[in-house]
Symmetry: C2
Subunit: 454 residues, 2 copies
């Protein structure tokens, strides 16, 4: 016997119960996106390595799974979806009506140390509103994100939306003595600082040659993090330039216009929020567990220059991503995952007759759908049908198997009834039984399942 192979570090095997949870989440992402009028897109699992080097930021590039194909091209597994989206819009977007409202549910990959809420392979819902520079786009992104969380049973008591703005950060950092040309670098460092221990922090700051001390940077966060709702505080007075003032006013407008309005209570300026991705141009946000116990649930912001940078027309854009790993932990912790996911068959066939072939015949008949080629449509769907693979004809045992498969109905084929040209039809919820004439059985079964099934 060979040693067991193990799946790669930081990846998951989705056996049926885990897969049912994944489907529950993915289906809801899709459903809510479509409800808001977003259309689904996707791209390749890997992209040219350069696509990420341009503007994703040092942290992401350091975590790429990269490889070379046989033609010598450098490729990388996608660590996120925004670069793919921007590449596609740069290439095809000119001919599309604006705004472009797209969502995607890609698997993404980061070669980082696996830990609670972070895996090397994860699934990330992406929602992007492209070609609209007004707050309409930012507002709608926040609305669809919140609508999904509500759909999962979370309430405004469960999460907060932390926001920040590059223009405000720039002003505050320049006031601290950071040189303007050092700003982008500083955003990266600020994002990293909060994840490092003191020794690592000191190293990073020295390596980057900052004109401001760790102390001063940390003070900015320590004092000002968690500005109360609306963010109307003394910090406002430190904003001197027209750019920063305009940005601040815009953020206050966004606060006042959130839909549903109760989101405003959860909308907080967090000066410590940077977001590692180098392509953000203004508004950034993160949705976080209100208890502060988990990593960010979702994050995003404005990337008004990225599509142009990738060779497209200048196109403003805003979007966010939400990973499945933290979300699933949160739903599990809050007891919000439904108990029975997936569901059972419409019909479980209990064959107690001497003719074993009857099972396959009935199953085939009931599972059959009708495709009408003239309208190119399925005009009648097939039923979900299961049966036992055991040799027994014991009706009691077979009905137990039907129940544990969570079947809605049982079709019982027994010698006595068959000799009278009928079959038994059992409603496993109502625990009632009736007889169906064989000639009409298929029609009656189909309408019963259509009416009562799910």
């Amino acid at each position: 016997m060979t040693d067991l192979f193990q799946g790669p570090k930081g990846t998951r095997d989705f056996l049926p119960p885990a897969m049912a949870v994944r489907r529950y989440i993915e289906d809801a992402w899709r459903r809510v996106s479509i409800r808001f009028g977003f259309q689904e897109v996707d791209g390749p699992t890997f992209e040219p390595l350069d696509l990420y080097k341009v503007k994703s930021g040092d942290e992401i590039v350091s975590q790429l799974f990269s490889f070379t194909d046989r033609g010598g091209r450098d490729l990388a597994l996608r660590p996120e979806f925004t670069p793919t989206l921007a590449r596609i819009v740069a290439q095809f977007g000119a001919g599309l009506p604006k705004p472009i409202k797209w969502f995607a549910i890609p698997r993404c990959y980061r070669a980082e140390q696996p830990q609670k809420g972070r895996l090397r392979e994860f699934i990330q819902w992406n929602v992007d509103f492209i070609g609209e520079e007004t707050l309409t786009a930012d507002k709608e992104c926040l609305s669809v994100c919140a609508a999904f969380l509500f759909e999962m049973g979370l309430t405004t008591a469960d999460f907060v939306i932390a926001w920040n703005h590059r223009d405000l950060m720039a002003e505050l950092l320049v006031a601290l003595g950071i040189r303007p040309e050092k700003l982008n670098d500083t955003f990266y460092v600020l994002d990293r600082l909060q994840k490092l221990n003191p020794v690592e922090r000191q190293k990073l700051l020295q390596a980057r040659d900052f004109s401001v001390s760790e102390q001063e940077l940390l003070e900015l966060f320590a004092v000002e993090t968690a500005v109360p709702a609306g963010g109307r505080t003394a910090l406002q007075d430190r904003l001197q330039t027209p750019t920063a003032r305009t940005a601040y006013e815009k953020m206050m407008q966004l606060h006042d216009q959130l839909v549903p309005p109760e989101l405003a209570d959860n909308f907080r300026w967090d000066v410590g929020l940077v977001r590692g991705l180098a392509y953000y141009t203004g508004f950034v946000f993160e949705v976080a567990d209100a208890r502060g116990e988990n990593r960010a649930i979702a994050g995003g912001g404005r990337y008004d220059k990225l599509i142009e940078l990738f060779g497209g027309k200048p196109t403003p854009a805003v979007g966010f991503g939400m990973g499945d790993v933290v979300l699933e932990i949160l739903l599990r912790e809050r007891g919000l995952l439904p108990e029975h996911l997936g569901g059972g068959p419409d019909v479980f066939i209990v064959n107690a007759s001497d003719d074993a072939d009857l099972t396959a015949q009935w199953a085939s008949r009931l599972r059959r759908s009708t495709f009408d080629p003239t309208v190119r449509k399925i005009t009648q769907g097939g039923l979900r049908v299961q049966h036992s693979y055991r040799a027994t004809k014991n009706i009691g045992k077979l009905l137990q198997e039907a129940a544990s498969a969570q079947a809605r109905f049982a079709l019982i084929l027994a010698p006595d009834e068959l000799s009278r040209s009928v079959v038994k039809w059992r409603d496993l919820h109502a625990r009632s039984e009736t007889e169906l004439p064989i000639a009409q059985a298929e029609t009656l079964i189909r309408s019963a399942c259509l009416e009562k099934g799910g």
Copy 2:
């Protein structure tokens, strides 16, 4: 302006129309699998390189996208799903009730030359019936495969099922003079031979040191390919060993028991069918375009030793894979792809009032779902709602936009009606209009959409 980035060779960008086709196919794969009682599973996108070296065969290994992670582990993007499935069953299968009926819809990767029907990244439906050595399993795999093709509007006139069996091939090849220890190598060569030009063929045969000439091998195929339905021909008389005779009888039983029975007319012994994968142990099959114009639509077979080889208990298994690329070409060629995929919103809001905020308020109200935490379930879904992003209040133009979005209903907010506390409600299919009192509007709209919507 930067040069446009291009997506990697052999991959696809799925813009909304392409994504709608992909969803149409994936949803049907999932629906039909569940109808037959298969449960969905998945695994990582990449696996240890060794998983494929053990038993996938030389051709697949030569086409791997492989890379090394930061821990020095050799990994490869999955070229197919069966090794992952066998690894998972080897690891977790002992505790699961048998038979195990699983399906998966993974993306897979092969670094081969892109051409019609072959891409470097594709999606492959996998259906596997595990833990059952009788024909029950083989039959059900063929049934679910055919049921899907019927679901897409294909008929038995559109496809054939070519079958072969390793034990029969072994006997025929040994009779030709191939040494038994050379058989596995020969299967690989046979599979390759049919894809090569004469010069490449000659090279391959010399490199592999065969005791039999190209001529003799090719004769076996040229003469015997396309044995008529049932395969009851003179070839049968060349089968001398009990092993081969047993295998042949089993294949005839399978032929006679196919469900639905009309599949038997399409079930043909093809001596030229080898399947490149080295893990097959007996029965193998391919579903092909009856017109012979495309590559195989699906292929699979028995792999009774693979789970044991991966360290699990001896576990018989049979399954097949079907890729999205050839399937989509076939459906398009046959004119079977539905014209309108995806569908429009339930409600399009036409706001002709002076209050622009009304749009977002109504949209939010109608999109809202209700999650009941006591039963952990969504008890009322939200509606799919869209609206215009243009500044116009022209009802005619906005109704045009509603129609081109394929909306089912339009909710018209106009000053005159609003002043009378009503809204207009237009059925865009029936082209009829009515007024709804604002106080009851949400309830009435929800039930109209539930009743008439899709």
